[in-house]
Amino acid sequence: MTKLDSKIPEGPIKDKWTNHKNHINVVNPANKRHIDVIVVGTGLAGGSAAASLAEMGYNVKAFAYQDSPRRAHSIAAQGGINAAKNYQNDGDSTYRLFYDTVKGGDYRSREGNVYRLAEVSGNIIDQCVAQGVPFAREYGGLLDNRSFGGVLVSRTFYAKGQTGQQLLLGAYSAMSRQIGKGKITMYNRHEMMDIVKVDGKARGIIARNLITGEIEKHSAHAVVIASGGYGNVFFLSTNAMGSNASAAWKIHKKGAYFANPCYTQIHPTCVPRSGDFQSKLTLMSESLRNDGRIWVPKNMDDVMAIREGKKKPTDLSEDERDYYLERRYPAFGNLVPRDVASRAAKERCDAGYGVNATGEAVYLDFKSAINRYGKEKALVTGVNNPTEAQIIELGEKVVEEKYGNLFQMYEKIVDQNPYKTPMMIYPAVHYTMGGIWCDYNLMTTIPGCYAAGEANFSDHGANRLGASALMQGLADGYFVLPYTIGDYLADDIRTGAIPTDSKEFNDAAKEVTDRLEKLINIKGSKSVDYFHKKLGAIMWDKVGMARNATGLTEAMAEIKQIREEFWSDVRVPGNANELNPELEKAGRVADFLELGELFAKDALNRNESCGGHFREESVELDGEQKGEAKRNDKDFAYVAAWEYKGEPGEAVLHKEELTFNDIELKQRSYK
């Protein structure tokens, strides 16, 4: 087994990043002009990296499958971004953010990486404010904060329910400035089809112009993959329709190890499914759990009456409701981490207490918050002896200010008014903590190929805390990669432009063309979506919120079978030399059909429960934590990095042992 070198710098944890920066190679400004960097994906990680690298002087080529960098799915992040600013004077610190993140990730992340993330978190807020990102403010003009799950301090910065949008538009504005200056060449409506290696190093990519279908060769001295996560392997998820794993999967097949694919975040608060036509699931921000209380009826009679439409949730008295998170986890209540909240919802629904026709929904209720805010507001605005109606009116206004766009979004989808009746929610696939393995410098196992943001695996362990994805994406792109990439590129100052007429580029381009032709020429009987839905159903049933060895073994075999069926019976209309959305989809689903199998294999290998990965074989049997997930540090305190060997099921496991020097491994307790 190859030893994976994570390249974590020596020394005390608080000095590692500073020392590392002080000792790595730097490329002088005049030489940066002779170096090209390709960035694939323009979300928070890719966008911020592309802008920062261009500002430093590198020639950047950025690629997005959408028609503008501003459309990347980071834009959909609602709730906020964490930073250890301690503006609220509640004792926050770099250490506390580091600790919360490692604990929240169920002790399956790298201490060194997470500490660095916490360390640069404050810079991110400063940078974004300087760019003109309109964060929410208090009346004194200073920045406001809110709380998120899994932590006891208020460290989340936000811009209404559109924080991701505002941060992405910040990075996009920085990119636009560099595009205007010619330092970034932007390739919109282009998809990366493969990576090109020359002498073992990443030296470029093959891309497809999605408008003309033309296959293009692009060279560079380094390639950054920032293409997001692989949640769409489940078909239904909160990801965008086009979100895909292809860039990550292609580099995996060319030598980049894929780490912890089974670590998936199932987000507790999403709009429940409503029918077979459904194409995606919509998230309701975790920030709602600041003020919303989650419950199901205590009595089965009430559940039935509600499902049959004989009773309304508002008819039930406090005594008839089971606020199950508050009951099970008094210390954190409705603000337990996402994995815990999701499993608790599943537990209640499996026990038959789900409140909609499908039996897969729980309530998220704002009545208490509306009352509380209404009373406060009445006091502040001098309304004496307010009536109940006045209190509700005032309270609804406050709630609207905080979450108005989310409430509107809910009402448009479900056709119910969440100010008047509780929202119905259920967990849905949201984020993938696993991803391309990378070292402390974010370099993958392919020299010169980097992975940033959700595409890499590095910071969230087995579960990501809320408001930490935006933090990580921007940390990687603004403050980590621009430094670490120089260490590698310092050797390339005399290389000169990489030619694209070499055998390596021609072979890679031919491979891409052949595969596209193959997809078109199958001319089978079933649409791409047919296969994607079939894969998604298996993933959700057997590789979803609860997993066991039997189900996972079956899933691996079934996915392999669907893959074979896909390659013999898929129907892709049109041809490869035109704008062809079905062909784009076919290529992505073909990759998901491989990734899904590795995902199940990884879940099967990890016979412990940790974070978002829950193995039914591994639960606490007694004591205070009875029924909670049981981690196994003795056998599984490692990163599972998989090496591709021709078939996803034959991938070879490489272990990176995780060591904890600054945090004691403990069972996570939110009780």
Binding site: D67, A76, R177, P573
Partner: protein, 250 residues
């Protein structure tokens, strides 16, 4: 419900297009408009025909990728939503629905319902930013207090998703609401003051070069904007522009 769809089909930018008629049946009122389009495409693929190309991505009303001119309205008959958030409960069984691309000289059709909004990109590149490099030593965020009403105004302007509904709906194909939103956002913030004048001049200049029409204050853009961007921002941009023009000559 059963519907008749009249869909704009156009092979590529150079070809001529026309409306084709397609029946669809068994559509749930809970489905979104684009999920209805998915059903149509699945049907076309099964019939061996080419599916309809349309832009879409997040399907939750924030990425700005989806467009469509539905029954003569950008993003369809509902208010405050993008096409992906439009639900079929807004239609009745038996309806005929006309589905066309966003039309404007500055948004050429690429295929079927997909248009090229690259002109918006170039306007952003002309000045839609604050010139600040990434730096680990930016001043502390709270050293720059911003009055809440100003911050809120900036946020209202910043919610623009760049979808182009304002252009599609305007009889002049004007991009004023889009440009005004960006200009206004920065004009409210202290960070935006340094480049305030050149920003508005450059962005408006680029807007004119792209072939967008002028604003005649019909207010249609505000009505159709899925994010409720206010017409007031256009007034604000006009003020910004004239003040910058006068000063620029000095």
């Amino acid at each position: 419900m059963n519907l008749t769809l009249k869909v704009w089909r156009q092979k590529d930018a150079k070809s001529k297009g026309k409306l084709e008629s397609y029946p669809v049946s068994g559509i749930s009122e809970h489905a979104s408009f684009l999920e209805m389009m998915d059903v149509l495409n699945e049907q076309l693929i099964n019939e061996g025909k080419e599916p309809v190309a349309f832009d879409h991505d997040c399907r939750e009303g924030i990425c700005g990728m989806c467009s469509l001119y539905i029954n003569g309205e950008a993003h369809g008959p509902d208010r405050g939503v993008t096409t992906c958030q439009l639900h079929m409960r807004m239609f009745k069984d038996g309806d005929t629905i006309y589905i066309e691309p966003f039309r404007s000289k500055a948004f050429p059709v690429l295929k079927d319902l997909i248009v090229d909004r690259g002109s918006f990109e170039r306007i952003q590149q002309a000045g839609g930013f604050i010139s600040v490099n990434t730096s680990g030593n930016t001043q502390d965020a709270n050293s720059l207090p911003i009055a809440k009403p100003m911050a809120d105004k900036a946020m209202d302007a910043a919610t623009c998703i760049g979808c182009g509904a304002c252009v599609a709906t305007c009889k002049n194909s004007s991009a004023m609401l889009f440009v005004a939103a960006k200009v206004s956002q920065y004009s409210y913030l202290p960070q935006g003051q340094v480049e305030r004048k050149e920003r508005v001049l450059n962005m408006v200049d680029q807007m004119d070069k792209e072939g967008f029409g002028n604003c005649t204050n019909t207010g249609a853009c505000e009505v159709e904007c899925p994010k409720g961007i206010s017409l007031e921002f256009i007034a604000r941009m006009n003020k910004e522009y004239s003040s910058a023009s006068v000063k620029a000559e000095n």
